[in-house]
């Protein structure tokens, strides 16, 4: 009920504000009332058609399995809510300006009255169809029809009242603050919907639970109590969430929150609830500015994890260049890794670097985690992600985080692996350095697989600069596995990479050795 009320309130206030601006800008124009009312009616009719169409899609999908269908509707609503929230941040002011301009054109006789019908109709249609869609999302989350209707009516009444009071100047609510508050409520609602979608997908066996339950707060806040129910409607609260549900909640909430802040014109001020969400997850890929000191990693990660594997790994590379300030740079990483489950591998590692002309120094220790999203081969391609927390050992060095998205696709006897990374330091104003790595290999034999590798740095997120400032390298690679006994094996990877842009080293040789127990 609360969720429905918030959505309807928000949409009605938005429509009411647009109508209010148009009315204010056309004061004194004869017959404008009829055209504006006509626009409202046409918009409502259009929104009803949209609702009916959405309903017929729902009916058509009835047979596909309720869980999957519900998850699909919830995720669609999540995407739409998130997009809407971010978009309003960006374009809210523009809409108000455009509406005012249209109103003035009508007053000065430059445009006909019919335009009022169109702009008001479109505004109502847009907000109305959003209401229809979001309501399907709430219904898919398991809300009953009666409380949803009650909530909708409450929201409608509140929205119309607010709109009317503001238009007649009886109430001076700063709209900016009103939208800020409702935006954060919508953010929580969207994150909650995503978590509920994850719940359905886990139930249908389409996603791993990751830990079920991750925690149990039934003793603290019962889901069927009044507060628990309110929180459930507002942000999808459940007593015993699975790890996947919590992950969906955090990723959705932080992504929308960060995008909203990014597209806000004024300096960002994060509401406490969202700050907690965002801080927990640190969505490094979406943040911007400054330059990290760390060098390109020269590692290609497969999203495929071998459950139970224990291994020691050494990775290193050496740069050769005609420029003295780049020639002879080296980097080594040593790690110990273990995969406790099919979807998670964790490793601790140490890193040493040698600057050209300098000595080899320990630079960082890190905790790296790789997550595999689905069993290998189940879908068209395999996907996963890497999350690395980095503690710097250098003087004045900063700790940071690296997030990477991993994809792999097999084409008969060849395999394409693609990685996209964002690395960011935990300092204010630090930027996110974007990097990519990819390999295409031919599975000729277990001990001998030739391939081609590319590595590159794309500069900071949002500040990509020219191609010449990026570092792109490409070259041949060789990898394979040599069995060293009943259970153990040595895996090797080596490549010679040639710089193709000005800022890349002329040649880099990389070698990676892994001993599996």
């Amino acid at each position: 009920m609360i969720g429905a009320a918030i959505i309807v309130l928000r949409e009605v206030v938005e429509a009411a504000l647009i109508i209010g601006i148009v009315l204010a800008a056309t004061t004194g124009v004869p017959r404008r009332g009829g055209f504006v009312a006509g626009g409202v009616v046409l918009g409502l009719v259009g929104a009803a058609v949209v609702a009916a169409f959405a309903g017929s899609i729902a009916n058509a999908l009835e047979g596909v399995g309720q869980e999957i269908f519900n998850a699909g509707v919830l995720l669609t609503a999540t995407l739409m809510l998130g997009w809407h929230n971010v978009w309003m941040k960006r374009h809210g002011a523009e809409i108000a300006r455009d509406m005012r301009a249209v109103g003035q054109d009508v007053t000065s006789g430059e445009r006909s009255l019919a335009i009022l019908l169109v702009v008001v109709g479109l505004a109502v249609l847009r907000e109305g169809s959003e209401v229809a869609l979001f309501m399907y999302g709430i219904a898919a989350g398991g809300a009953g029809a009666a409380p949803m209707f009650a909530g909708g009516m409450l929201g409608l009444a509140g929205g119309v009242a607010l709109g009317a009071l503001m238009y007649f100047g009886l109430l001076r609510i700063p709209t900016r603050q009103l939208f800020t508050v409702t935006s954060w409520l919508l953010l929580l609602l969207a994150a909650g919907m995503a978590a509920q979608a994850a719940g359905y997908l886990v139930q249908a066996g389409k996603l791993p639970a990751l830990a079920d339950p991750l925690w149990d707060t039934s003793a603290v806040l019962a889901e069927n109590g009044i507060a628990g129910q309110a929180l459930h409607a507002l942000m999808g609260y459940v007593e015993r969430p699975s790890g996947m549900q919590v992950l969906f909640f955090l990723l959705t909430g932080s992504t929308i929150g960060v995008l909203m802040n990014r597209f806000d014109r004024a300096p960002a001020r994060i509401a406490p609830a969202a700050a907690a969400v965002a801080a927990f997850c640190v969505p490094a890929l979406f943040l911007a500015l400054a330059s990290p000191t760390a060098r390109a990693a020269h590692t290609i990660y497969s999203p495929v994890i071998e459950e139970g594997e224990v291994a020691i790994e050494l990775r290193g590379h050496h740069d050769f260049d005609s420029r003295d300030d780049m020639d002879g740079a080296q980097q080594f990483k040593v790690d110990l890794e273990y995969a406790p489950t099919w979807f998670w591998r964790t490793e601790v590692l140490g890193e040493w670097e040698k600057e050209p002309g300098g000595s080899l120094d320990a630079t960082e220790v890190a905790w790296e985690n790789i997550f595999q999203f689905a069993p290998q081969g189940k879908y068209w391609a395999d996907f996963g992600m890497v999350v690395e927390l980095i503690h710097s050992l250098e003087d004045g060095g900063e700790d940071g985080i690296e997030l990477g998205f991993l994809g792999e696709k097999q084409f008969d006897a060849t395999v394409l692996t693609v990685n996209l990374f964002g690395e960011r330091e935990f300092t204010s104003g630090a930027g996110t350095e974007m990097e990519y790595a990819a390999r295409y290999r031919w599975r000729l034999s277990e001990t001998f697989e030739p391939g081609i590798e590319v590595f590159g740095e794309l500069g900071d997120w949002g500040h990509n600069g020219s191609v010449d400032e990026h570092s792109h390298q490409v070259g041949p690679a060789l990898l394979g596995k040599v069995r060293a006994g009943e259970h153990s094996a040595i895996k090797y990877e080596t490549a010679v990479l040639f710089g193709v842009t000005h800022d890349a080293p002329d040649t880099t040789v990389r070698l990676q050795l892994e001993y599996e127990f």
């Binding site: 949209v50 995407l79 869609l133 081969g377």
Partner: protein, 111 residues
């Protein structure tokens, strides 16, 4: 407006395609006394396959196949699912890594 409708339809298509893939042919393999039964199974080409491997031994085994590009632990007394394919016609060897002398088998893909 068109944007919303496109989104709704996209969501519908995604959910439909997600459920459509659920019906891949299932192939059952049993590990007993460190051997696979049957040692040879046939399956159609060009289709995704679902291998269900049940380990009736008390000791763990690792289902491994370089040809299929798969490697997965089967706990003692446990059961796993391995998705493979779509595959081209041919003979794909697999084995149990922990008992490679005895635990061997072939997946034969017929055109």
């Amino acid at each position: 407006m068109a944007f919303f409708m496109r989104f709704m339809v996209l969501g519908a298509v995604l959910t439909l395609s997600a459920t459509a893939s659920a019906a891949e042919p299932e192939i059952r393999l049993v590990i007993k006394d460190h051997r696979f039964t049957p040692t040879e199974v046939t399956a159609p080409a060009g289709q995704k396959l679902r291998l269900v491997i049940e380990n009736q031994d008390a000791t763990p085994e690792e289902f491994e196949s370089y040809a299929l590009n798969r490697e997965k632990i089967v706990p003692g007394g446990g059961k796993i699912v391995v998705f493979v394919g779509p595959l081209k016609p041919g003979r794909y060897e697999f084995f149990g890594e922990f008992n490679a002398q005895t635990a061997r088998g072939w997946l034969v893909i017929e055109p």
